[in-house]
Each structure stands twice: as structure tokens, then as C-alpha cells.
């Protein structure tokens, strides 16, 4: 249809007085966009005040470093070296000399200033199209100074949105399991951090085994599996109040929990007598509903963003495969038919894809497929990796990867990694300790 339209248009243009020459440009380079992040200007007075409050000097510099690092991590942008900048931040934040920025091959430029006034941090920034010598975006924020890192992330979100046409994913957090100790006696704690690995906080002490934490849609609650008193059960934790409670009153192990997209239900597996099935519990009226009823293992359930469907993992065919059903458990359909075993399906926040872990010929893959199982694409292969979690804009997956242990029991590590949907941009997400089971929050601001 589109093709047809183009043909018609072409004919139309050709019939003008004299033919308009058309040249088709079907190639370009896929290099990241060169962008200059000029340090945000902050005056001495503000710097002194800021240092008093957060013990970090030169706030403007620090915020621009956060922006720069975020942009680099996307793989879509190439922040240029500051040494090459010709214009100082004091002047640049007024009106850039575009020729200078053009000279160092910057195509976009970020300038701005920060000041502290009445205990408030005020940031102003502008995004410039260097080649067109035009402003593309200009915004100002006000917040408490302790939030300065988030300011950097929010700026990145806005720039990312302006330059890619999609929402960003920088003002977000990641909840994960921090790991320590030998493999046979691993100590695991719940931990939460900013998307870039800063501001780590531990939510449990490590006295009991904890696994698979997941955020609710408002990022204030976490559901996870805890072995408290050696009874593996799904728990609910309010991050702000620290209040914990067991979800439901099941006479056996509950595990693999996730929130429904409206945050009102928890969906999870309940195992008893050697059989795991999927259940939901309504958090308001505590009503428990059984969703699947099959003698096979049914686990790792995940809702579609509209809440109408559930994808899950089952071995009812004999081996682990991915299935989709309606939210009441009807219309169960197998969607994975490739070679190997499939697990941990997670529905993308955009609704168009399902991410999964695949085990084939002794290798683990993270991949995506459409919700009908077509278009399977494997993004990364490794010795062991699993449990992908989507960034809120549905472009990046975070997962964990474990390394091989040698005969002497050495060499084991578990780390968080991210990869984008193109499969190009694979990066380790920095964590102080070993880490596993990451879950990405939604955007904190908005």
C-alpha cells in the first residue's frame, strides 16, 4: 500500500513542468551521534553551598558527567572528549558559537547552568542542533540538592526523548539480589540502586535466602521470594515503610511472583505435591484464584501490559516451553517452537514482544519473539545467563550472567548486563558485589 502511494506520488511529481530529479538515499552510517556535553555552568557561590550539603564539589561538572555517561551507555550517542571543547562553559550556556562546535564534529550540544538558591537546586539546560544552529530543547528543573544525581538522569531522559523520539529510561532504579560468599553457601540480600549503579541500598540483611524481586508499577512495593524460617514464600515489601508481609496463606512453596500491570494483583506459582501451577492473589480483598491446572510445571508468569493475557513457562509438552493464555487461564497456546528449552518469558512494556531465556546445546541465550511466537531473535549467547527484565521504554533488557567455575571451584561470578533490542550494545551494569535477578523500575518522574 505504502509502496503504491510512493509510486503515485512519483508519477505526480514527474508530470510537473520539468521532471524533478529524485535521488534515493538508502544507506548511511550507524555510528553513534557525536554530541558535546558542555559542563553545566555553576558559580562559586553555588559550588560552595553545594559542597556543604552533599560533599561534592563543582555540581555543574558532576551533573554533566552523569548525562555524558548515560548517553554513552545507550550506544546511540558518542559524547565527545571535553579536552577538545573550544568554548568554556561560562560562555557556552549563553549562546554557543556553533562554528566552534562544528569544528570538533559535534552534531548536538548540551549547555546549561546550575545554581543553589534558598536551599534549592535549580538547573537550566538547552539542547542545540549544531549544524542547523538552532535550539531543540530548553528546560529548567528545581529540586532539593540531594537529588542532584536524579537531575542528571532526568536531563538525559529529556535529551534522549528529543533526539530519538522515544521515552528515556535513565531516571529509574534497579532492584536486584546482591550475592556474596562461596557458591555452596551463597549469602543473598535484596538491593536497590540507580540505573547507573549508584546509590546502592540493601533492603535485607542476608540472614535468609531471597530471590527474584520485582517492582510494582508505582515502584513503591516489591514482591519477592524469601526463605524466611525455611519456608519459601512470596513476600511483599513496602520500600518506604519497610513493612513486609507474606502473600497469601499457601500450604507450600510460592515463588516466581510478579505484579499485574495495575498493581492490584500478584501472580505467582504455587507448588505442592510435585506440581506447580499459577495463581493470582488480589491485594485488596485477598482473594486467591487458580489460573492453571495441569500436572506439569507451570511457572514464571508475566502479564501483558494491558493485563488481558499472561505468558508463562510450562513443561507440559515434556520440556520447558513458553505459552500464552488469557488472564483467566483459558485459551492456552504454545508459542515457542524453536530448538532447545525456553524459560522466563517477560512481556515487553510496549506489548509487542516477549523476552525469554533459551537453553540450546549447552549455551544460554537471551532473546525476543513476537507475542505469537514468530520473529524469534537471539540477542546474546553465553555460558549461563537468564532472567531478562525490560527497560520502561522497551528498548533495553537487563539480565544476569554467571561465569564458569573451574575444577578448583574458582572463577565463579554473577553480574548484571544490559543489551538493547538491536543486540549491538551489550554492557555490564556496575555493581559493588556479585548480583543477580535484576528488575527494572518504571520512570520515577512523570
Amino acid at each position: 500500500m505504502k509502496f503504491f502511494k510512493i509510486i503515485i506520488l512519483t508519477i505526480f511529481f514527474q508530470s510537473q513542468a520539468y521532471a524533478l530529479i529524485e535521488v534515493d538515499i538508502t544507506r548511511g552510517n550507524l555510528n553513534p551521534l557525536p554530541i558535546a556535553v558542555s559542563p553545566l555552568f555553576s558559580n562559586n557561590d553555588s559550588n560552595v553551598k553545594f559542597e556543604k550539603i552533599v560533599k561534592v564539589n563543582n555540581v555543574g561538572h558532576e551533573i554533566s558527567k552523569i548525562v555524558e555517561n548515560n548517553l554513552r551507555q545507550t550506544g546511540l550517542f558518542n559524547p565527545l572528549e571535553k579536552d577538545a571543547f573550544l568554548q568554556e562553559s561560562e560562555i557556552a550556556h549563553l549562546k554557543p558559537r556553533f562554528e566552534d562546535w562544528n569544528l570538533i564534529k559535534a552534531q548536538a550540544l548540551i549547555t546549561g547552568k546550575v545554581e543553589i538558591k534558598d536551599e534549592k537546586l535549580r538547573v537550566e539546560f538547552r539542547l542545540w542542533d549544531v549544524l542547523a544552529a538552532k535550539e531543540m530543547l530548553a528546560l529548567a528543573f528545581t529540586t532539593v540538592p540531594t537529588n542532584w544525581r536524579r537531575v542528571g538522569h532526568i536531563i538525559t531522559d529529556k535529551i534522549y526523548e528529543r533526539l530519538t523520539g522515544e521515552k528515556g529510561y535513565f531516571d529509574t532504579r534497579i532492584i536486584y539480589v546482591a550475592e556474596e560468599g562461596p557458591k555452596t553457601q551463597r549469602i543473598k540480600k535484596l538491593a536497590i540502586m540507580d540505573q547507573d549503579g549508584f546509590n546502592v541500598k540493601y533492603l535485607t540483611l542476608g540472614n535468609e535466602l531471597v530471590l527474584t524481586p520485582r517492582f510494582n508499577p508505582t515502584n513503591q512495593m516489591i514482591t519477592y521470594l524469601s526463605y524466611f524460617r525455611n519456608l519459601p514464600r512470596v513476600y511483599l515489601l513496602d520500600i518506604e515503610t519497610g513493612v513486609q508481609e507474606v502473600v497469601g496463606d499457601f500450604p507450600g512453596m510460592t515463588f516466581a511472583p510478579r505484579f499485574s500491570p495495575d498493581g492490584k494483583k500478584i501472580i505467582m506459582s504455587f507448588a505442592t505435591g510435585g506440581n506447580s501451577d499459577i495463581y493470582t492473589m488480589d491485594l485488596e480483598n485477598r482473594i486467591v484464584e487458580r489460573i492453571t491446572n495441569h500436572p506439569s510445571i507451570d511457572t514464571s508468569p508475566s502479564y501483558s501490559p494491558d493485563g488481558k493475557f499472561i505468558c508463562f513457562n510450562s513443561d507440559r509438552s515434556g520440556y520447558q516451553q513458553i505459552y500464552v493464555m488469557k488472564n483467566d487461564g483459558s485459551n492456552v497456546k504454545r508459542i515457542s517452537f524453536g530448538k532447545g528449552l525456553y524459560g522466563t518469558p517477560v512481556w515487553s512494556p510496549r506489548g509487542d514482544l516477549i523476552a525469554f531465556t533459551k537453553l540450546h546445546k549447552g549455551k544460554f541465550y537471551i532473546g525476543v519473539m513476537r507475542t505469537d511466537g514468530s520473529g524469534e531473535r537471539l540477542l546474546t549467547e553465553n555460558f549461563y545467563q537468564e532472567a531478562p527484565s525490560w527497560s520502561p521504554n522497551g528498548r533495553v533488557l537487563i539480565f544476569y550472567r554467571e561465569t564458569e567455575t573451574n575444577e578448583k571451584g574458582e572463577g565463579f561470578s554473577a553480574k548484571l548486563w544490559s543489551i538493547d533490542l538491536t543486540g549491538y550494545n551489550e554492557r555490564q551494569v556496575p555493581t559493588k558485589t556479585d548480583a543477580s535477578d535484576p528488575s527494572w523500575s518504571s520512570l520515577l518522574s512523570n
Binding site: P182, K183, T184, Q185, R186, L209, L211, T212, L225, N230, P232, G252, M253, F255, A256, S269, A271, G273, G274, N275, S276, I297, T299, S300, N313, D315, Y319, Q320, L341, G343, T344, T357, L359, G362, F383, Y384, E386, A387, E402, E404, T405, N406, E407, G409, F412, S436, D437
Partner: protein
Amino acid sequence: MILNKILKNTLLIVATCLILSACASTKKVSDIGGQIKDDVYVGEDTVEYLASGVPDRVFFATNESVLTTRSRDTLRKQATWLRENPNISIVIEGHADERGTREYNLALGERRANAAKDYLMTYGVSADRISVISYGKERPVDSGSNPLAWSKNRRSVSVKAN
């Protein structure tokens, strides 16, 4: 020319021999020192005893929860021992190796522990003396990343609860 012919023939026959023997050799490779039989660990390493002559654990094949003849033998010994000591109750811990996704392994561990529990019950041990817990891949007994270590980790272990 003749030398060349002999050389060619030699290569061809060696290749044929290798192809024919391929089937047999794969089994040998996985059968490390005779400690694994049909993907199930049959060695004595890591095995502890609940009482003299009563091993505490049984092993499974990859992704399986079927009890082998040897496992059933072990569990019958456990059942006898439990009937002789009616005051003892046990916890059966189900485990999986590290070559699976965490959530599926939790379910698999539960299935393995229950396979052992069901067998003990058919030999007259009452259900309220046996509880079950799954650790999935969280508590390996051998931390290695090799088929032998994995086979030792695919297990269900009976532990005295009191």
C-alpha cells in the same frame, strides 16, 4: 604412486573407523570414571548416612524427577530406618543443577523432593513425618561447572528434622 595409494587408503579407513566408533565414544566421555550412568550420578562422593547403611540422598537425570532402581533401593533403606525410628521426622530437600532457569529449577526441586516423599510413603512412612523444601539451584553441593558436578547437584536429600 603406490605409496600415494596406500596413504589414501589408510586415511579413508582410519576415518571410517572413527565414524563407526563415534557412538561408543560419546558415552565413554560422559561416564567420568564410571561415576555417571545414564546421566545419573552413581558415585559415593558427597553421600552422607542417616544411619549405618542408610544413604541420605538420591540422584536424578537432567530435567528429570524419575527414581532409578538404585534410588528406589536407597529410599527403601530410608523407609525401613524411619519405620524403626518412629520418633524421627525428616525434611526432604530437592535440588537442581545450575543449568536451568532459577524459577523452573525451584519447581523442579520440589518435584524431585516429592518423588522421594511419595516413594517413602508407599513404603509405609506417614506423610506428616516428611516435609519437603526445594532449593532449586541455590545450594549446590559441588560448585564446579562440569557434568560430574552437575550430576552430584541433581539430588534430593533426606535430613533429620528433630
